[in-house]
């Protein structure tokens, strides 16, 4: 890593109750969620109160961090901690997505073809062809009858191609905004971020339209076997990350308008930009592996 020099004082924050409140909120949210899906009336209330606690912490904690950053408590040494930390965090996100890409690979290349290749005298799936896209052979498994729905797979060359264009452009606009910040051209910074947020929101709008279309007209649902499950879980978790990224970009935009960030001190901006590029790369993989091939 970086060469070692005499660093001087490292910023160790004062005691803080935010982490504890955040964990309590998560406990309420998760257990409330469980009670909710098992139809206990306390569930929604627990989820709501947990969510409010998490929201309170998100506002309070980030407000504190932004305040510390703007009052100059983070020097280069602290800055490097945040950078390494963000890289490691994004790596863990890569690992999370790879679980779902791995599931897609396994279902598409191993389990679906295998179900079609049993000895005909030993299988209940005689007519199953095992071609992708597939909602499975159907049958009685886990005690309930399952009939694979008739569905139309999602074509790559409509909304998904447009969304690819939108996300790639948003990667360009956020870099353009970064150039503006580096050259201290504030209007370019703000306009670039504004465009990025707008493109992110457009992406999410189109994605929701696509989901609606899939559910109402194409018969493509979460329950549509291997294809439906991998399609919605992969694109869904990606959409969730785009949502988070867009919220982060909005925060950065507001901070830029308020005059935060300096050309030589803007980890908050870069962390969000890295995250946005990560979301971008995941989308490219999705476009190729889920929609196209």
């Amino acid at each position: 890593m970086a060469t070692q020099t005499q660093h001087g004082h490292y910023f160790v924050p004062n005691p803080s109750l935010y982490p504890f409140i955040l964990s309590s909120g998560l406990l309420l949210m998760t257990s409330g969620f469980i009670f909710n899906i098992h139809h206990y009336s306390a569930g929604p209330w627990m989820m709501l109160s947990g969510f409010l606690a998490v929201l309170y912490v998100l506002f309070g904690w980030f407000d504190k961090v932004i305040g510390e950053s703007e009052s100059g408590m983070y020097k280069n040494w602290e800055d490097r901690s945040f950078r390494v930390g963000m890289i490691v965090f994004i790596s863990s996100e890569v690992a999370f997505f790879s679980a779902f890409f791995g599931a897609l690979f396994y279902l598409r290349n191993i389990s679906v073809p295998e179900l079609a290749h049993f000895d005909p005298s030993f299988t209940m799936y005689k007519d199953f062809l095992g071609t992708w896209p597939s909602a499975g052979p159907g049958g009685v498994v886990l005690g309930s009858e399952y009939k694979p729905p008739q569905f139309t797979p999602m074509s790559a060359w409509g909304i998904p191609a447009l969304n690819t264009l939108i996300l790639l452009s948003s990667g360009a606009t956020v870099t353009w905004a970064h150039w503006g910040l580096l050259k201290n051209k504030r209007p370019q910074l703000i306009l670039g971020l504004f465009l990025t947020v707008a493109l992110g929101l457009t992406f999410l709008g189109l994605q929701s339209y696509e989901y609606h279309h899939a559910y109402t007209e194409m018969g493509l649902t979460l329950g549509a076997g291997a294809y439906g499950a991998t399609f919605f879980m992969l694109t869904g978790f990606h959409g969730l990350h785009v949502t988070l990224g867009t919220i982060m970009l909005i925060v950065i935009l507001v901070r830029s308008i308020k005059g935060h960030f300096k050309p030589d001190h803007h980890f908050g901006f870069e962390g969000v930009a890295w995250y946005w590029h990560f979301v971008d790369v995941v989308w490219l993989l999705l476009f190729v592996l889920v929609y196209w091939l």
Binding site: R80, S81, F100, P148, A229
Partner: protein, 531 residues
């Protein structure tokens, strides 16, 4: 290994909030380390109590105390508690306490994140154990009853306990990822001037690779249990053949995490055991570089061998051969480590205080665990051993002896540094001998039970298994009760006792021994310079 030339202590005194608020709000690495270690000790007792109930049931054939459903819940929660709430927090506690001292850092790099990492654990423990209590009030049918591995389709069909365990795993996963981020950043960015990567204490190296493994695998587990959740409640078919899915997919995803997890539990221990061997042999660590490279080799190999946990599930023969040979190849770097440990002691001027007793006993018992692992990796032999008590005995030799007894060595080694008091040496030695002997009484019979074909996770068994089970249960109760000696020893050491010097072990090396015992609340505000 390294010497400090300047150690300047904190000029302004410690500031923390009074009472319980100190622990809820702390950003201090020692406070957080203490909480991790205390939590691990409490959960070690909880998990131990669970398995003693199981061993009581298995004392004789037939059903005596426990209903089979409750028996299944106890074994699964025992494993999750021991792995996620005892072993991992204990190792993280050491990392928090000792890493900044050992590498000359003012604190962990991200102190508030550090606090969050700890405070995710109690909620996770509540989620794991709450279903037991809920069942008493007629809500649900108890905790996770699938064993700790959540295998589909059993876990898809299970009750409310599975959902609680899924979210417990999510919280534990977030905690591990946050802890790992913190440790990686601390090691990369907080080292004292002059402390290059190849001068790092081995403990830091062990933890660095542990943290990489956690970052790579814990999110995969989170993904796997998320698929389980959607299969259970939202109509997906990841693990359901009718929809084109496959239950074995779950096993692949789970063990892609699960096998590296073994090394996640062991690498921190491999990190500090050489420090202990070196201190009590009064010799430098032998083969420092070889050990670092072996850590890397084992870390990398550990993510490509996962399917040896289900060799009997049905895989193409080339896959079986690949997983067999890759698994066995781990024994090469592991053998390098064993020889380095032995060579560190070779011709040393050895003395056997409690930490050294645990460290040397650990080498032998962990060695048995490693060798029986080679037997299990053999595809042909595994057809006989799979899902028997042989497996149970094997992984308790690696995880109780290799993991927990290693942690105990660390506890006795660093307790004087942490508390400023010497523990009771006689009780420590008594604890070691009772633990080592009772451990073998408990688990050697289980090897024979497994060879004779007794399946695991069964509350009742055939009559020919009765004698060995009785011996095993007796050993388990001695083992469990003798841990109370350690608890007493730790508590009385925290409360008082003979003053510990800055360096209570004359052969010990490293920056942590240049500080007073106990170290000041803020260890280094000016970093020491390492030559």
């Amino acid at each position: 290994m390294s010497t400090a030339t300047t150690v300047l202590h904190d000029e302004h005194h410690a500031h923390y909030q009074p009472g319980i608020m100190r622990w809820l709000t702390t950003t201090n690495h020692k406070d957080i380390g203490t909480m991790y270690l205390t939590f691990a000790l409490i959960m070690f007792m909880v998990g131990g109590a669970m398995i003693l109930a199981v061993r009581a049931e298995l004392f004789q054939p037939g059903l005596q105390f426990l209903k089979p459903e409750f028996f299944n819940q106890l074994i699964g929660i025992h494993a999750l508690v021991m792995i996620f709430a005892a072993l991992m927090p204990a190792a993280t506690g050491f990392a928090n306490w000792m890493l900044p001292l050992m590498i000359g850092a003012p604190d962990m790099a991200l102190p508030r994140l550090n606090n969050w990492g700890f405070w995710l654990l109690p909620p996770a423990a509540i989620l794991l154990t709450l279903p037991f209590t809920l069942a008493l009030f007629g809500i649900g049918d108890g905790a996770l009853a699938t064993g700790w591995t959540f295998y589909a389709p059993l876990s898809v069909q299970g009750g409310i306990g599975v959902d609680f365990a899924i979210f417990a795993v999510h919280l534990l996963g977030i905690s591990s990822v946050m802890g790992s981020i913190n440790i990686i950043v601390t090691i990369f960015n907080m080292r004292a001037p002059g402390m290059t990567m190849m001068k790092l204490p081995l403990f830091a190296w062990g933890w660095l690779i542990t943290a990489f493994l956690l970052i790579a695998t814990i999110p995969v587990l989170a993904g796997a249990v998320t698929m389980l959740l959607t299969d259970r409640h939202f109509g997906t078919h990841f693990f359901n053949a009718a929809g084109g899915g496959d239950p074995i997919l779950f096993q692949h995803l789970f063990w892609f995490f699960g096998h590296p997890e073994v090394y996640i539990l062991l690498l921190p221990v491999w990190g500090f055991i050489p420090h202990i061997l070196s201190a009590f042999s009064r010799k430098p660590i032998y083969g420092y570089k070889a050990q670092v490279y072996s850590f890397w080799a084992i870390g990398i190999l550990s993510v490509v061998v996962w399917a040896h946990h289900f060799l009997t599930a049905g895989m193409p023969v080339p896959a079986l051969l690949y997983f067999m040979y890759s698994t066995m190849s781990i024994s090469v770097p592991l053998a390098v480590l064993f020889f380095c440990w032995i060579a560190t002691m070779w011709k040393g001027s050895m003395s056997f205080e409690t930490p050294m007793l645990f460290a040397t006993g650990w080498i032998i018992l962990f060695g048995i665990g490693g060798l029986t692992g080679l037997v299990l990796a053999d595809v042909a032999a595994d057809a006989q051993y799979h899902h028997t008590y042989f497996v149970v005995a094997h992984f308790h030799y690696t995880l109780f002896a290799g993991g927990m007894m290693g942690i105990m060595a660390g506890v006795y080694y660093w307790l004087p540094k942490m508390t400023g008091h010497m523990y009771n040496e006689t009780l420590g030695k008594l604890h070691f001998w009772l633990t080592a002997i009772a451990f073998n009484i408990t688990f050697i019979p289980q090897f024979f039970l497994g060879l004779a074909g007794m399946p695991r996770r069964i509350p009742d068994y055939a009559l020919q298994f009765a004698e060995f089970n009785m011996i095993s249960s007796i050993g388990a109760f001695i083992l469990g009760l003798s841990q109370l000696i350690m608890v007493y020893n730790i508590v009385s050491c925290v409360r008082g006792g003979k003053k510990a010097t800055d360096k209570p072990w004359e052969g010990a090396q490293g920056l942590e021994w240049t500080l007073p015992s106990p170290p000041p609340y803020h260890s280094f505000t000016e970093q020491p310079v390492v030559e």
